[in-house]
Amino acid sequence: MDNVYLVSVVKFVMYVAIVLISVILIGWLERRISAFMQNRTGPNRVGPFGLLQILIDVVKLLLKEDIVPKSANKRIHDLAPIISIAVALSTFAVVPFGNTIEMFGSEVKLMIADVNVGILYMLSITSLGVYGLTLAGWASNNKYSLLGGLRSSAQMISYELSMGLSIIGVLMVSGTLRLDQIVLHQTSYLGGWLPAWNIFLQPVAFITFAVAAFAETNRLPFDLPEAEPELVAGYHTEYTGLKFGLFMLAEYSNVITASAVIVTLFLGGWHLPYAEYLGLSPFGLSILQILTFCVKVALVILFFIVVRWTIPRFRYDQLMNLGWKVMLPVAIANVLVTGLVLLVI
């Protein structure tokens, strides 16, 4: 029994360390790529290629004074960033980042929590993300913050529906709610050569899910909760220092988690096509699969960043129209078509 706890603790610590380091790397990558796309230089002085710039920024945020507005609700103002970061970090618990590996003399599944209802857990935790933003906006006692917070709740509630419905298509194909089983289902080959990834089986669901994921992470083109020209900085206008840092951390952790979930559900998870024919030892194969997962997630994150600096922001009514009049019907039609096809086959 002790062994189980030990393994969980090791996995958890490793996961948090990896996420925190990746957040720093993504922050650097985002600034370099945006600079490249806008024909600027970007951070290049601190460390090689400016890699240590974000580290310096973290230290700066830690040392800054924490300012709470006089008329703000102190308790909820403190609590909101904590909720945001807790929610952002807990979603990852059910994502499998590899098949199994030998650790402490036993076969260990490479996911933090092996839950029967993995996908539902993921959906329910992401739906809690609204609280951090809404409460931050409300507690700041600032009109811009409040509008940002309200926009975020409306946006997340609208896009959660199409997110859930696009997952149903995947569920119907794989017939399970366990994320490790969904990945295993994608390791076969269609017609003997095409990997049976869900992106090939469920292309429409992939598109609706990816769009909804962008909306859920509040990234451009859906970053209305913090639209700078209209709302100063939206829900985190009144935040400084470490609490502001926590919101940033939560945002980038959300991007990592969303990418990991997209990879798991649609891009074959840790599956590297034809790797099982290489004749590697089981341990080597496990390491290769973990690396494959990391590379896939990194590519999806890169996609997130490139989209942010390519596409302009939606207007609020366009956002709602897209969510309710385009995404939702498409997602429902996808469920119907998938059902019909499964019935015929």
């Binding site: 959906l123 809404t134 409300w138 409040l146 509630i157």
Partner: protein, 168 residues
């Protein structure tokens, strides 16, 4: 089994304490916010009872859906329209009668029910396929009736929201 007992009392404490805040607090935003922890505690108790599907659905529907809308409404009314929403004690006598009747019923049920002392199963079983099949076979009629009720509520909400206002 010691850890189990400790965790149970922890979740029970969270549920009861936050539920007390919901009722007692004068500030309605605090009440709505405390309800979040009540739902959380109940979800935790479901997990302890090995009902993972119910626990996750509890979070998804009550915390992620209903409570967000509730908080939304409360916050919009207090901040945007500047109505000071505070709860106060009014109509003590009818309230006492109704609460006494309700409490009596609940305590009666509490005493007369044979409470199971342990979860129905030792581990997390794959209950989702069974739940799905039951919903679409034995319990199809209640399931469909619930969906019709929800549809009626939806139409009612749309009617109220889109009603043409007559000139005052």
């Amino acid at each position: 089994m010691d850890l189990y007992i400790i965790v149970f009392y922890l979740f029970a404490l969270i549920t009861l304490a936050s539920a007390a805040i919901v009722v007692i607090s004068k500030n309605i935003v605090y009440s709505a916010f405390a309800l979040l922890f009540t739902f959380f505690g109940v979800a935790g108790l479901y997990v302890l009872l090995m009902a993972d599907f119910i626990a996750v659905t509890q979070l998804l529907i009550y915390v992620g859906g209903i409570l967000v809308l509730l908080l939304f409404g409360v916050m919009l009314t207090t901040k945007v329209i500047r109505v000071d929403m505070r709860t106060a004690t009014v109509r003590t006598f009818p309230a006492v009668v109704i609460v006494a009747a309700l409490a009596g019923t609940l305590i009666g049920i509490f005493w007369s029910t044979d409470w199971p002392q342990s979860p129905a199963s030792d581990g997390f079983e794959r209950t989702i396929p069974q739940i799905g099949e039951m919903l679409l076979t034995s319990y199809l009629l209640p399931f469909e009736i619930a969906s019709v009720v929800l549809l009626v509520a939806l139409i009612g909400a749309a009617m109220i929201a889109r009603r043409e206002r007559k000139a005052l």
